[in-house]
Amino acid sequence: MEEIKDIRQDFYVNMGPQHPSTHGVLRIVLRLEGERVVSSETVLGYAHRGVEKMAESKTYVQMMPVMDRFDYVSSMLYEWAYVGAMERALGIVPPERAEFIRVIMGELNRMASHFVWVGAFLLDLGAFTPFLWVFDAREKIMDMFEEVTGQRMTNNYFKIGGVHDDITPEFLKMLDDYLKMIYQRMADVEELIESIVFLERVKDLGFISKEEVQSYGLTGPVARGSGVMIDTRKTEPYSVYDRLNFEIPLGTKGDCYDRYRVRMKEIIQSAKIVEQALGMLPEGPYAEKAPKVVKLPEGEYYFAVESARGLLGVYLLSDGSTKPYRFKLRVPSFANLSIIDKLLPGNKISDVVAILGSIDIVVPEIDR
């Protein structure tokens, strides 16, 4: 950034890496003119762990638990992308039941992720209560995960050829109760959130045009909030999504409010997908037999899923050994964050947290 000549007018503020609302260790250098942002610069790398390099020294199976640790709020969608890439390489088709279990788990995880987002977004705007209301709803999802996968967040549940364990009757009962209460809770949360204060804060703020969505490579609810229909579940259906009937909510204007609306509607849609998948859940084995030592045949493999934040792609380059030659992730948060420096200038410092919150980033995923 350029030097400040006249110190009486402009000054720099370091937002982060330790700041309550940068969602982790993200640093944004803001150049302010009073309350107004003149320009901004985003600094990444505080949570960089070199995972892509690390993958080259770990076997394919050993990387499985690491996949949970990029985006810790929707970890099973990451597992799905990784497992999908390996299955594509090995030519294994998971059984029907496994696919439906994956859909149920993935959509529940998407809901959990959006709940965290709604809570954190409102926390950024200064309201604390919605945070705990949605965290109660998320907590019940976590309980279900614990029942089936054995862990609450870093599940390590998917495996090549299916899933690790079958779902239990206890889980089905919990899920039934959950689906009964979730619509009411969502209506309550919406009623609480959408007060005039909230509407004033987020409406007409942080516009992203359709062209910008294309040029910045934005995906997920950020792109859909601008009315661009990008959803891997529809555009390039994987698993059994082509047999499920669901809508992709789209925004119209592309402001923070539209992105919020899209996510709130997606929670409802995900709940509906779970309901459908439950009804279609076939009997049968929950996993195909997988090789004991995983060796991918030589070649390049790519598999993309729709994570809670957008298009998530796993790229594997194999030289035929037990370890990938190159492991690359296409993470949605990183691409989505790239537009932030364009959105911030001209807005107030209070809007910085609102815009940053509406983009929904997870820092370990960005830095990897």
Partner: protein
Amino acid sequence: MEFASLLNTFLGRVILSVAGVMIVFTFNALIAVWLERKISGHIQLRLGPMEVGPHGLLQSAADGLKLICKEIITPQGVDKKLFGLAPYMVFFPSLLMFVVIPFSDKLQVQDLNIGLLYFFSISCIATIGIFMAGWASNNKYSLMGAVRSIAQSIAYEIPIILSILNIVIITQSLKLSEIVKAQSNIWFIVPQFIPFIIYLISAIAELNRTPFDIPEAESELVAGFHTEYSGMRFAVFFMAEYTNMFLVSAMATTLFLGGWNGPILPPVVWFFIKTYAIVFIIIWVRWTFPRLRPDQLMNFCWKFLTPLALVNLLVTTFILKIL
């Protein structure tokens, strides 16, 4: 000297008043913080503090003890004198404001004939303390919080004064005991409901509480003007906030809810019931809404509250003239 005669001497009155104010102050610091945590807890499907004392009643005392035990940290580069003085500049006005609060027909430190004016002028001093804290901290977040605080309290003084002017016009007095006596038949909240709402909103803004907590704004300015404060100095800010909350509620009770008036129960009890009802509303509002942006805050004050208060004042005077 006998107790009754002690009351009649000047020194005796001073000592008793100071003791009384300190008791109310301590009691409130314990109760208001506990109430806040309990109410917020229950709204958020939690229980709030449960461990220290029955239902966590002594939690505030334990927290206070912890804060007293902490080291007083003065960060590098701060203006030491201002930095040390600022918390007390915020704190002492709130003690001074107790002087005119009529807890009952007899329990009042001094029944000034300009009581109302005294209360609201003293309350403005706290803003200077907040600005001192932000200025002295040598921290950009603190400074921004301080500047916001100044802008906010200048703006919201106006609707507050305009709303209470109605009461003054009706009662023809600035003396708080007379305002209370004028409400023995009907509380002013009934004819003056809109000023009551304006007063409540502006009072929340003066208190720097959500949805108007822009000087603190923890998600934007980390902690605003008290970012650099810790230990007992922070506790002084904290206690001042809750004391102020009690005071504006007490003033709302006095002006709009009939003060100590009430059947059966003794007047003091009525006073505290009404005051804590207002405290409950203030806490309830805080845990319902997000925070406004500073410019929206100003818009809300200048474009909505102030015109409304003015129109209301006009209507009140007009009606009084006709009657």
